[in-house]
């Protein structure tokens, strides 16, 4: 992945927000659950969490010194327990070298089963120069 090219795309990945997963996520992250007393919406960071892991899988779980430098999130809707989320339109949006390190920006969109956009994410990974 550190050789990723500008515009390169990756397949969509779908997952279900299983209630057990939501509860475990909230526990180990020590985040508010439920988000609002009157709702069962999942913590918004959970969408970011899954998007990051999916990005890591596109990087091949690269372990050659890859780190994440930044993350940009734009939430556009709430996800609920049981929702099936698809992370789609994953594309390398930018590739650049700074201070001898290679940066790759991967953009993705998380949608629900109704194709409603819930979160737009951009994740910048930095790789050691090769």
């Amino acid at each position: 992945m550190s050789e990723a090219k500008l515009g390169e795309t990756f397949p969509s990945v779908s997952y279900q927000l299983e209630p057990q997963a939501v509860e475990e996520y909230a526990r180990f992250m020590a985040v508010t659950r439920p988000v609002s007393p009157s709702t069962n919406f999942v913590p918004p960071s959970m969408l970011a969490y899954y998007a990051l892991w999916i990005a890591s899988s596109h990087f091949g779980f690269d372990t050659r010194g890859a780190l994440f430098a930044s993350m940009d999130l734009q939430f556009e809707g709430l996800a609920s327990d049981g929702d099936i989320i698809t992370v789609q339109d994953s594309q390398v949006e930018d590739v650049f070298i700074r201070d001898g390190k290679r940066y790759i920006v991967l953009a993705s969109i998380s949608v629900n089963e109704q194709n409603q956009v819930l979160c737009r994410s951009k994740i910048t990974a930095v790789f050691k120069a090769t």
């Binding site: 990945v13 918004p44 969490y49 994440f68």
Partner: protein, 155 residues
């Protein structure tokens, strides 16, 4: 009761103490719940094999990568900051909020992280007040670990 937002207002959030056990939990969660969909069938390694080649769970591997020891996944910081934003900006942020995070400095087991925010701007819009926050997370030595900007339109 409607909250009054003013430029310069400060928010202090609870501190977190990083532990290896907490980082192991994160790795196990990802392996358990995301592993089955991210690894092609039959290729997901056992957790122990996954953990020994991971800078978040293996000291030896982290050192091979030039780090002093294991480092916490940046997403744990995002989760913490996000939780502060849900509490402070409410569901408006969860529904339509924005967050830009920069990971400045690594942190690992034994580090204590302090999260705070300052109201950078408040602007009246037709839907409410657009509140922009400068968010900062520092370690026990005062080093910046995370810098972020968050925004939401609140009632």
């Amino acid at each position: 009761m409607t909250r009054i937002w003013a430029r310069g207002d400060k928010i202090e959030y609870r501190e977190i103490v990083l532990t290896q056990a907490g980082m192991d939990q994160e790795a196990r969660f990802g392996w358990e719940f995301l592993g089955p969909i991210l690894f092609p069938p039959g290729t997901r390694p056992p957790f122990a094999a996954f953990a020994v080649r991971n800078v978040h769970t293996s000291v030896d591997f982290a050192r091979q990568q030039g780090l002093k020891g294991t480092i916490a996944p940046g997403i744990m910081f995002v989760g913490h900051v996000s939780d502060m934003l849900v509490r402070e900006l409410g569901i408006a942020w969860a529904k339509k909020g924005r967050l830009s995070v920069r990971f400045i400095h690594t942190a690992g087991p034994g580090d204590t992280l302090y999260t705070s925010a300052t109201v950078k701007a408040v602007a009246l819009t037709s839907s409410g007040n657009r509140v922009t926050l400068d968010v900062r997370m520092v370690n026990q030595h005062g080093e910046r670990v995370v810098e972020a900007e968050a925004e939401a339109i609140v009632p």
